[in-house]
Every structure is written in structure tokens, then in C-alpha cells.
Symmetry: C2
Subunit: 200 residues, 2 copies
């Protein structure tokens, strides 16, 4: 992708139901409200074999303790010195969580921004078509060409709580399914990226 022309963008949003909103121990990512899941989702969104996808933006919604909710935004076209291992990405998230934040995006590292906002407020600002991933959705392979420039919303191991899901469904253009089995969020992102790659 490095240097390649970007024909469309991909936006991934992962809801971390328990993900902590303060700096955490890098030796215990799962204990930080399953921060390991958000790290893996970030890696699978951004990394190719030898490079970063410049056409990807990742939103991580951290809804855990002590709160209030914070959102981390990662722009593939600006990221520098990120490695795909969980500890490296966890370190970048931890650094962001150490900053004083408010409603407006503040940069913590190249390509990494943080704000103290909740999910509905973020959704208000987003103008992309919204795609929600759920097992009873339409097979991604039937609708892939329609999925350019979309925001894909995924839950973590706890899924998406009812209130949030109602809000998403109200705003969604598509409800899609990726697999006959129930997969982890990071695996869903890999499959989505692959479908979009095949669009050329």
C-alpha cells in the first residue's frame, strides 16, 4: 500500500465495553477490560505484510472504568513506529490515556488521537455510511461493492449492548454477516479488509 493510490477509505469502530479509560499495566492487557482485543483489532485493521494501510481509520471506544468514556482515533496515513504486536499497540493506547483530554481530539503520538466523548456523540459527527456486523446480516460477499467508504461497527467479546445496538440499527445502511460461525472482532476486520482488497 505504501505509495499506492487510495481509491476509497475504510473506517473500523470497535466498542470496548469494559476497556479502561486510564493508563494500565502492559503485562496485563486482558485485565485492562480486554484491552488485548482492542490491540488486536487495531493491528488487523492497519497492518499488511510489510506496511501500514494508509486508507484505514480506526476508532476504539473505551467504555470501562473509571470512565467517562474515551475514544481513540488512529489514522493509518499518519501512524509512525507502530508494530503489530499487542504490547506495542497497548503502549500507544496507554500513552494516549495518560493525557488530559476533553471533547476535542488531541494527538498523543503520530496518527493517534484521543477525546473524552461517548459513542452517540461520535456517531453524530460521522457522515460515512454505517455498516453493522451481526450474524443474521446479509453475506458480505453479496454486497461487498457497496461497502466502499463505510464505517464498520463491531463489538468486543461482550458484543454490543441493547441501547447502543438500537442507535446503530437506526443509523445503519447495511447489516452484514461475514461467516457462518461466530468470530472474534479482529478476525472480522481481517475478513472485511480482504473483501475490500478484492474490489481492487
Amino acid at each position: 500500500m505504501n505509495g499506492a493510490t487510495i481509491t476509497f477509505m475504510r473506517y473500523f469502530l470497535v466498542i470496548g465495553n469494559d476497556a479502561v479509560t486510564e493508563p494500565f499495566h502492559l503485562n496485563g492487557l486482558p485485565n485492562a477490560g480486554r484491552m488485548d482485543i482492542l490491540c488486536r483489532c487495531t493491528a488487523q485493521s492497519l497492518f499488511l505484510s510489510h506496511g501500514i494501510r494508509r486508507d484505514v481509520v480506526v476508532y476504539l471506544v473505551l467504555k470501562g472504568l473509571p470512565g467517562p468514556t474515551k475514544i481513540i482515533k488512529i489514522r493509518g496515513d499518519e501512524v509512525r513506529s507502530m508494530a503489530p504486536d499487542e504490547r506495542n499497540i497497548g503502549g500507544l493506547i496507554r500513552k494516549a490515556l495518560g493525557m488530559d483530554v476533553d471533547y476535542y481530539w488531541k494527538k498523543s503520538s503520530p496518527g493517534i488521537y484521543i477525546a473524552q466523548r461517548n459513542f452517540p456523540s461520535l456517531l453524530e459527527d460521522i457522515s460515512h455510511k454505517i455498516v453493522y456486523l451481526r450474524e443474521d446480516g446479509k453475506d458480505v460477499r453479496e454486497v461487498a461493492p457497496l461497502l466502499k467508504d463505510c464505517l464498520f461497527i463491531l463489538g468486543d467479546h461482550r458484543g454490543v449492548v441493547k441501547d447502543t445496538e438500537e442507535l446503530i440499527l437506526e443509523k445503519s445502511s447495511f447489516l452484514i454477516s461475514l461467516s457462518p460461525l461466530s468470530l472474534q472482532a479482529d478476525q472480522c476486520i481481517t475478513l472485511l479488509n480482504s473483501e475490500l482488497d478484492r474490489l481492487g
Copy 2:
């Protein structure tokens, strides 16, 4: 998958060109010859959203220092208490590397075995059809129904060295490609599992 009938098996083999053959620090998986890659490949081979794939066997070939080569075998139908985060899987690999080993498989944890063997010797013992993943291979979607009960061979970030590749090509039934882009080994495994899941 838990309790589901197994209709065919999947075998993944990942070559860790630099992966160390002695216990390593869990805080520095990338420094242990990119052990982080092997941990991610293991997670993507075995994990579903809430369960382990019992129809998967993973081979990790550790070709790094101090040597000689060791191979770790992980059986999905026997694994207990494995979590999908890199540090957890790294801990299980480290425990295996702390054992005295010889040519014969020795169990280090439930479902995890280790032996001091090299790749050609392992290949001699394997009777499954061999599938090699390379970017100039046939599109996986054209041949997926033929890929049941196969061993899929992947390289790490350094790929597969020439001698090893010649040996693989000699024994391969298929040369397949997963994507128009060059992906990481763990991403390839996710895509393979997904294609096989669609076979039902």
C-alpha cells in the same frame, strides 16, 4: 464448535525463521525472533468468538538461536486454559521450551507438545495433502472444496528460505493465493479458516 461434529481437519504449519529455541522474556516477544508472529498465528488458527476450534492442529517450527530447530505442536481438541492474547500463548510456548526434549513429542501442557526435530523430518511423517501459500498461487476461492484435511504451510515475516521452499514445492498438492495484497501469516490463517468454514 464445542461439541460440534468434526467433518474434516485443518493443519497449519508456520515457519519461524528466527524464533528462539530457549525460554524467552514475555515482555519482549518480538525480540525472541518474532515470537509474537507465532503467538498470533496460533490464536488465529484456534480461536472462535467463544471457543476453540477442535478440528485444528498447529505446528510452529522454531528455527532461531541457539538451535537446533524445535517444533511445537498444538492440538485444538486437547488445549485447555489458553487465552487468545499473545502473552498467554507466549507463556505456553516458553513453558514448552523449558523442557528437555528429543526427537519424540513430549507434552508440556494440555494439547501442547514439543520435539527437537527439523522441518524436513516433520514433513516426512505427515501424510496430509500439502498446500503452500504464495502470492502467485491459484485463488483460494476457486479451489476451496479441495482443501479439506490439508496441511497449510506459511512463512513468517521473512517468508520461506529457498531450500525449504524447494522441498515444500516438491511435496505440495496445491499452490494457493488468498489476496491480491501481501498479508501477514496470521491474517492468512484467518482467511483460510473462513474459506473452510464456508464449506460447512
